[in-house]
Symmetry: C2
Subunit: 367 residues, 2 copies
Amino acid sequence: MVWSRVTASRMVSYKRTMLMCTLGRRYFMTSGVRYGSSLVYSEYGDPEKVVQMTQQELPVVNSKQVLVKMLAATVNPADINTIQGVYAVKPSLPSIPGNEGIGEVLVLGKEAEDYFQPGDRVIPRLNAWGTWRTHAVADFTDLIKIPPDIALATGATIAVNPGTAYRMLKDFVPLKHGDTVIQNGANSAVGQAVIQIAAAWGLKTINVVRDRPSVMNLKQKLLDLGGTVVLTESEIRKSEELKAFPKPSLGLNCVSGKSGTEILRQLAPRGVMVTYGGMSRQPVTVPVGLLIFNDVALKGFWMTRWNKEHYNHPKRQEMLDDLFQLARDDLLQPPEHSLVPFDSYLVALKNAMPKDGMLGKKQILVF
Amino acid sequence: MVWSRVTASRMVSYKRTMLMCTLGRRYFMTSGVRYGSSLVYSEYGDPEKVVQMTQQELPVVNSKQVLVKMLAATVNPADINTIQGVYAVKPSLPSIPGNEGIGEVLVLGKEAEDYFQPGDRVIPRLNAWGTWRTHAVADFTDLIKIPPDIALATGATIAVNPGTAYRMLKDFVPLKHGDTVIQNGANSAVGQAVIQIAAAWGLKTINVVRDRPSVMNLKQKLLDLGGTVVLTESEIRKSEELKAFPKPSLGLNCVSGKSGTEILRQLAPRGVMVTYGGMSRQPVTVPVGLLIFNDVALKGFWMTRWNKEHYNHPKRQEMLDDLFQLARDDLLQPPEHSLVPFDSYLVALKNAMPKDGMLGKKQILVF
């Protein structure tokens, strides 16, 4: 029986966990059978309506598996869109949502023991792993161990958005110290990570945000994170501050529509705009002259694909190590967030929906 | 005096040339002063109105220069747009139009003698050289010698359009024998060159043309040139023939607008669309999902920039050698064209204007 492998010293915490979870009606064990709770949806639609809490019996951990207790799980826009059925990836239903989160290894299969120990913190190696659940039994190869000194909110939010920022800054245009990057949606989770990673690497950032009532506060917040310039969409064309900068060779676009076109216009000849989102729900309109005469290029980035293609690639561990070190050095903070108890998932789902096209604080489910 | 360097044997042909040109009131020489005729425009506007024929005294050839008698000069859409003032390049006025043409070396400066001989056929190395004139005195470094066995219409039309086709097929996506390329505007001068060069290199082409009354004839013409499939814009989405093909990894776009979007949709994941024109006068609309999830990229190509950047690069001579060899082997024909005497340039200008957005036969001025 797998349970018997658990060391005496860990048993205390397991018992505490079991007690806690049993009280919360989310995890309990009778006669060697374990149960966990998960959010699940069986049809695409409004997340607040189609997502439901369920209890399941957890499978017995086989030799290649581990039992993970989730500690925190992020609610990202891609999760919302996936549940709505409007995302590029349509999981087969019923499905447990959640692409990102941090868990703790409770129980290990024999083969997993060479790689993990009870108490190890882990994040999923693959997208669509389903982090919105109290517990998961998973192949150990589908998990990545992360350092124990990383704060929960950081660990739960580092893989998708800072990963996206890191790769876009690294993989498309060779940048050297002092170079400038322009981005729209600068207040998004990726945008904030871009500002911080760029600042840590000695890159300047021109940050474009949408016009809004309390824009001065937002500007100050992004400047405090390390942004070099923050401009609204309506300021960008007439900005004298911008004219003083050398044209950026890298543009990052998560808004698309007119905002994406404006990023393209700002690029240096041979510049590259990387599109990783379409928050305006509009396509990117590309003036032909920018392609032919300015020689700008448009590319796309999708962290999910990159992770799939670098499933076990050393570059992936190197990226995570870099990001964790930035977090330790206080150079990379998690986005503003609310920690929402798992039972109150409806609050998290409600708060994660864009209001007037704007996203509020990042919602992090805690268990 | 430069004239004295001309060998006795060449004098005969010069005298004949002079006689002919004098009769045509386009080139004459009195007391060592030579005159030539050129088309010139002093304001941007309707080519048929702003372009005028003028006579000038030709400067004396210095040691670095050659006197070239033009033999044939192409009227390309870029020439028309430049005169209209709607092209990316705005020459200072007054300006002699014409980017492409073939000439014959008449007189050489001392330093040029190591590189050219009288009678050599030459094409301009640079854009905006001004080929619409009977004679030109130019730095020898601005000319490229071409083989004597190349037909005039081929020599006059090979640098810009087949050059564009060659580079787009070679420089953006690694293609191997049997791979497929998709293009719109397949009946354009570049499009026809793409079909022929691709066929010579063992590549398949999916060729998209605009719907038009006599489309069956056009289809047959492009199939005869070596096209694999020819479809109209309205056929492309429902074509069963197309579904049988592996998705192309390279798309070539000279139409932009909806047609460009459709080319993007047809690309394989990671495919690249190279835009080299905007005949629809519409921007390219790029669905965000194609960038993020299909990982397609958009790039641009402009022969003028490539030539500038490869002014004296071995790749340029290699390209010309390849193209001339294809022409010799009857694998690359010049586009359908009309040879128009220089004096009748107004006819050429009229015929070079698009009718209902379609271009007619290529107009080649002959001298």
